[in-house]
């Protein structure tokens, strides 16, 4: 499978101003994101995840290391403005604060904004905007003012703006952090739909473990380094490590982990309530069986 994004030995340092010291945000970070995959990036506040996102969107220049986007190396002296424009055309970003990324005063105008920047003909923009609003389920709000929408609805408008540009990869930089549970559920459903049905490569930066558990792969950042990396099952199998990194595991995993510590023979890689209950009841049966 081809990679959408490859990152090799990436480091980044914010230069301190005045008396404040330099801050190293990323140290030797390496990972790959295959096309069409769903990758979650976990990490506490200040672990470097937002810095990573801005480097992937060409907003910051990496200090050292390589970033390859759709086969094109984006680091080094010979990167032109056209290359950056092309990378931005393929990799889009949805930010944390829904209010601060909406440009226009009408929903559909905002969705059209990116396409207009790309110089797409009017009729084609119209088609794409309508389709994008359908995808995120916001078509009936097309003529509304974004100001009056809920946080979750605003985020879906922002997502529509990104998909109208036909991006191959979308980075969600804590896009669910400021939403209420309903808004979060809607946005997560939209993200999964984009990934499953339209084959969009998704990179989801989040604090919510249950969101990360739905990804194909999780990368955990801690102090600017990759602490651990793998499928949700692999990553969540070591709760102690995540707790230490100021993170958490889904409650199902935590309960199974406690059972395991109490001597039960259970797997830890189960994230849904029914599966977790089945696993516990199986382990209890087994122990009873032994006793008899």
């Amino acid at each position: 499978m081809k990679n959408a994004i490859e990152v090799k030995d990436l480091s980044f340092t914010y230069e301190g101003y005045g008396d404040s010291p330099d801050v190293t945000a990323l140290r030797d970070v390496s990972f790959t994101v295959p096309e069409g995959s769903f990758t979650a990036i976990l990490g506490h506040n200040g672990s470097g995840k937002s810095t990573l996102a801005s480097i992937l969107c060409m907003l910051e220049e990496p200090g050292s290391g390589e970033v390859i986007i759709y086969g094109k190396r984006m680091t080094g002296e010979d990167v032109t403005d056209e290359d950056i424009f092309e990378a931005r055309r393929r990799v889009g970003m949805v930010f944390q604060n829904p209010d601060n990324q909406i440009v226009a005063t009408v929903v559909e105008e905002d969705v059209a904004f990116g396409c207009e920047n790309l110089g797409i003909p009017s009729a084609e923009i119209r088609k794409r905007v309508d389709a994008a609003l359908d995808t995120v389920g916001m078509r009936k709000y097309a003529r509304h003012s974004p100001h009056k929408l809920s946080g979750g609805q605003k985020q879906r408008v922002a997502i529509a703006g990104v998909i109208a540009m036909k991006r191959d990869c979308i980075i969600f930089d804590e896009s669910t952090a400021m939403l209420d549970p309903l808004g979060r559920r809607d946005v997560m459903e939209t993200i999964e739909k984009l990934n499953h049905e339209d084959g969009v490569t998704v990179i989801l930066i989040t604090h919510y473990m249950e969101e990360a558990s739905r990804a194909d792969k999780i990368i955990v950042l801690d102090g600017g380094r990759v602490l651990t990396e793998g499928t949700p099952a692999e990553v969540f199998s070591d709760p102690e490590k995540l707790w230490e990194a100021s993170l958490d595991v889904p409650q199902s995993t935590e309960l199974l982990y406690r059972m395991k510590k109490a001597g039960y023979d259970v797997r830890l890689d189960i994230f849904d309530a029914e599966g977790c209950a089945a696993e516990i009841s199986r382990a209890i049966e087994k122990r009873r069986g032994k006793r008899v």
């Binding site: 990490g43 549970p181 249950e210 406690r258 109490a262 309530a273 516990i280 009841s281 209890i284």
Partner: protein
């Protein structure tokens, strides 16, 4: 211990216009003691409810009684209520303004007209409660990290030593570790100061772990009011309201269907593990 009583309270926004919203309907509540959690959707009326407690909003009808005294009967009581029910709004770090952390925390106590010595004492005590380290006191609040800013803002309200500390989504946007840190700090504050705490939040997991009593709101009404065990044992109703219950509550009900009944009042992982353990020993 102080007590806030809401009596037949209604609140209507934009009354008499086409944009009228009936935000609160016939609310009757007695608040005081322990950590009280208020949960509900955006638009359920919980934020309006919170603003009634310190007189930021005036009920359209009904009474807000602070230790038996009607808040809106005398204008000076409204101002006093600001200090008696200290409100920490959502994302409070966006309200920091002073040139130093110390000055910002001192804003509330100074508005109360306290002496310089008393202000100083309160600021230091509040900083300790909110886990603001003494060596940042002379720094600009704008230079701090997000989590630190949040704690400075929290200290700014604690410094007024309110009989009620009211927090709207105190852990919003924080990572799990910082959530535990700030909520743990609030619990400790409750224990040491003896003041009542009211937390408004969406997070069932947090509420289950930190609250003694939970009030569930929907469409401007109080739907449930009771201990965590009482409220979460009605998980089906909560789900019906579109609210989430902690995942472990789901697991407990799934276990019940597998023939392992560990009770309906399971809402924290620790308690579930305990119950499972005793279930196995019994069996």
């Amino acid at each position: 211990m102080s007590e806030i009583v809401l009596k037949d309270v209604n609140y209507i926004y934009n009354k008499g216009t086409p944009y009228e919203v009936h935000a609160l309907r016939d609310i009757n509540l007695t608040l005081g003691g322990g950590i009280i959690g208020i949960i509900g959707h955006t638009g359920s009326g919980k934020s309006t409810l919170v603003q009634l407690l310190n007189g930021l909003a005036k009920p359209s009808s009904g009474k807000v009684l602070f230790d038996g005294e009607d808040l809106w009967e005398k204008p000076e009581r409204v101002r006093a209520a600001r200090f008696r029910a200290g409100l920490v709004m959502q994302y409070p770090e966006y309200q920091l303004f002073a040139s130093t952390v110390y000055e910002d925390i001192a804003f509330g106590p100074r508005n109360m007209g306290l002496s310089a010595d008393e202000v100083d004492r309160r600021v230091r005590l509040a900083a300790e409660f909110a886990k603001v380290s003494p060596d940042v006191m002379e720094r600009s609040p704008f230079d701090l990290s997000g989590g630190q800013k949040r704690r400075v803002a929290l200290a700014g309200v604690i410094a007024m030593n309110p009989e009620f500390l009211v927090l709207d989504e105190p852990a919003a946007g924080l990572d799990p570790g910082s959530r535990r840190f700030i909520l743990g700090g609030i619990k400790e504050y409750r224990k040491k100061s003896g003041n009542s705490v009211i937390i408004v939040s969406h997070s069932m997991e947090d509420m289950a772990s930190y609250c003694d009593r939970i009030i569930v709101m929907a469409n401007g009404r109080v739907i449930m009011d009771g201990s965590c065990a009482e409220v979460f044992s009605r998980s089906l109703e909560l789900i019906g309201l579109g609210l989430d219950v902690p995942q472990v509550t789901h697991i407990a009900s799934a276990l019940r269907e597998c023939g392992i009944d560990i009770g309906r009042d399971v809402y924290t992982v620790g308690y579930a593990a305990e119950k499972l353990d005793s279930f196995c020993k019994k069996a």
